[in-house]
Amino acid sequence: MVACTCGCGEDELTKQLDKVIDEYRGQPSGLIQVLTKAQNLIGYLPLWVQTRIAKGLGVSLQEVYGVVTFYAFFSLIPRGRHKIAVCAGTACYVKGSKTVLKTLREVLGVKEGQTTPDSRFTVEVVRCIGACGLAPAMIIDGKDVHGRLEPEQIPGILEQYA
């Protein structure tokens, strides 16, 4: 679905966003719910989306942006189809999460917080995922845990995700 970002409200994506906003129109307390739904819809929260939400709920853009940048869940940049979350908790850090990140950087050509140009992967660093026994570990798409990672395994793992 292609989005016109001018805010004219004519395109399909904007109409769907407005539907999300309508549920909470004029209600500042609905901010996090609206942001969550908007991100699920659009994939990320660029300026035009935040502005439209701010207007719709009757809050300042500063309020919206402060919340968006506070929670790691929200993203200002387009997300890839697959999210790689590299654990940087204490155990993983000690066992070599830096090497994991370095390898990802070499294989994918992007740093943490970035998305590959083909929109396939977004690489993120997260705090302890509770899989310390598998350190160093990463989770792909929030469900597939890959543990005791060695750098040479990583290209093979990534090939499983189209």
């Binding site: 016109c4 805010g7 502005t51 701010a54 300042s60 853009l61 500063q62 942006y65 506070f70």
Partner: protein, 577 residues
């Protein structure tokens, strides 16, 4: 009442008080940094830690409520150590440019470092690096000096209801800025500068235009005139250590003349003129069924606020320019003609308790003389800086008088410095113009004071005139919402952008808190009472101005020079393709 012990002293305070308040009530001083009474009470900085018996950790006293039987120590050796550690951590990410900082000598962080006798910072590490934002004509943001206390956000959001700033990101990456770290000039920021008053460091300061003024004074071809706002004379003393509320009118005039200004004039003069124009505009609106309530238009932060947030109500604004801009337009027309000076050689400076005035003088509507009507605006703080640079001891100077004709004023003009003053000045004149009778009591005390929204009904002849007065934009918003809802039966509303009015403006000496504001307000009324003439329509220089130049209030020339129009603005960025 709750009974507790602080530093072995028995203290009784009301339930709900904080430990900090309880300590203060018996004269025990606990250092604070992020805390700002009634405005910012969030326990962020941890300087105010105290030792509470039985507690697992030290407790931030600014947010911790007292409880019965509590035993508190405020300065154990471990506490001093902890506070020093907090300070060192704050300073480990501070640029340490104190010698070249605008707040040198008047910085809360510097003062704490001095009080704690810090001799070294044990922590070395990454430093916050952000570009300085000097896009706004009024204010400069330097996030490197920010200690993330959030006072600016609190005052902008809770007092002014503008919310042009937020905290972005988290942890070490936290940044106080507009959304997307946009430049202040592109935001709905109204340039009121209340943030610069509450900033404990030099992270938000006024644009310093003193060099421009020194350059003009040094130029023999320039005829440099200066106007001083009503509030400045009750503020300027504080810049050199005088008590708040000190009136230094004559000394300030003498000081300005000594700095080299060719003529020292007074914004009180054009405040009187404003009353005649605005008073007549009100009468015209009442008698011809114009848009009511009419709202005052002297305060440029307020103007920008209504343009951004309530553009539908712009027809309610008086079309009168502010006294500063009326003065500017006349200095380069009426005064230039009268004195035979080419207006291009006149350099017009104004001294204001205000940062938004710096923005106002650059507005495209403010070139009615054919030139920029007011060339440069200095805040009271900057004038204090010029006096310091000159080495002059302003308070020891013999008092001098303002120059004629644009320095002649009445007590009514002086009232513009305090919340309710424009209204009181207007009522003094409107009453006498409409009824033809002399007022028995010219003191409209219902207009006075620092209450957020004041209301009164004054009988002007047969007409009961209903008025409202607000100060602080959060309070203005309440009245504007009433107008929108059709529930405001007022004829006339005075709005001043800053709490307490101009005496509490963003260009005022620091500190400006409630106590200081109240003392300056008292000084404004004292100054009014000292004046021989106290009603704007009795100002002989204004009478001459009409006779020689303007002809009559709301006349053709007035409309050309003294009145303006407003611009609808959005308070969200444009959504672009």
């Amino acid at each position: 009442m709750i009974n507790l012990t602080i530093d072995n002293r028995k203290v009784a305070v009301e339930e709900g008080s904080t430990i900090l308040e309880a300590a203060k009530s018996v004269g025990i001083n606990i250092p604070t940094l992020c805390y700002l009474k009634d405005i910012n009470v969030i326990g962020a900085c941890r300087i105010c830690l105290v030792d509470v018996k039985g507690a697992r950790t030290f407790i931030p006293s600014c947010v911790a409520p007292v409880s019965e039987g509590m035993v508190v120590n405020t300065h154990t050796p471990n506490l001093i150590k902890a506070r020093k550690l907090v300070l060192e951590l704050i300073l480990s990410d501070h640029p340490m440019e104190c010698l070249t900082c605008k707040r040198n000598g008047n910085c809360e962080l510097q003062k704490l470092a001095e009080e704690f006798g810090l001799s070294e910072i044990r922590f070395e590490g990454a430093k916050t690096e952000y570009p300085i934002d000097d896009s706004s004509p009024a204010l400069i943001r330097d996030p490197r000096k920010c200690i993330l206390c959030r006072r600016c956000i609190s005052v902008c959001t809770n007092i002014q209801s503008v919310q042009a700033l937020t905290v972005e990101n988290r942890g070490f990456n936290s940044l106080v800025a507009p959304a997307f770290n946009e430049k202040l000039a592109n935001m709905e920021c109204v340039q009121c500068g209340q943030c610069s008053l509450v900033c404990p460091t030099g992270a938000i300061v006024e644009q310093d235009d003193t060099d421009k003024v020194w350059a003009a004074l040094a130029d023999p071809k320039k005829h440099v005139v200066v106007q001083t706002a009503p509030a400045t004379r009750v503020q300027i003393g504080e810049t050199i250590g005088a008590e708040p509320g000190t009136i230094a009118t004559g000394q300030m005039v003498a000081g300005l003349r000594s700095l080299g200004f060719d003529k020292v004039f007074d914004t009180d003069f054009s405040a009187d003129l404003t009353i005649l124009e605005e008073g007549n505009e009100l009468l015209q609106r009442v008698t011809t069924g114009g848009v009511l309530p009419m709202i005052t238009s002297c305060s440029p932060g307020w103007i920008k606020f209504i343009e951004h947030f309530y553009p539908d109500l712009l027809p309610h604004l008086s079309t009168c320019k502010s006294p500063q801009q009326m003065f500017g337009a006349l200095a380069k027309t009426y005064y230039a003609q009268k004195e035979g000076i080419d207006p291009k050689d006149i350099y017009s400076v104004s001294i204001m308790p205000c940062t938004a005035k710096k923005y106002e003088c650059q507005r495209p509507e403010m070139f009615s003389s054919g030139y920029q009507d007011v060339d440069v605006v200095l805040t009271t703080r900057e004038l204090g800086r010029m006096f310091k640079q000159s080495g002059m001891s302003m308070t020891n100077l013999p008092e001098e008088e303002y120059d004629a004709p644009l320095g002649i004023s009445t007590g009514a003009g002086e009232l513009f410095g305090a919340s309710g003053g424009v209204m009181e000045a207007a009522l003094r004149t409107v009453y006498e113009v409409v009824t033809g009778k002399e007022l028995e009591d010219i003191n409209f005390t219902a207009c006075r004071g620092i209450t957020g929204v004041k209301e009164a009904t004054v009988n002007v002849g047969d007409l009961p005139v209903s008025v409202a007065i607000t100060n602080g934009l959060g309070n203005a918003r309440k009245v504007l919402d009433k107008i929108r809802a059709g529930e405001a039966g007022y004829h006339f509303i005075e709005v001043m952008c800053c709490p307490g009015g101009c005496i509490g403006g963003g260009g005022s000496p620091i500190p400006t808190n409630l106590d200081v504001r109240l003392k300056r307000i008292d000084a404004v009324y004292t100054e009014d009472e000292r004046m021989v003439l106290r009603k704007s329509h009795q100002n002989p220089a204004v009478q001459d101005l009409y006779a020689e130049f303007l002809e009559k209030p709301l006349g053709h020339k007035s409309h050309e020079l003294l009145h303006t129009h407003y611009t609808e603005r959005d308070h969200y960025p444009k959504e672009e393709c």
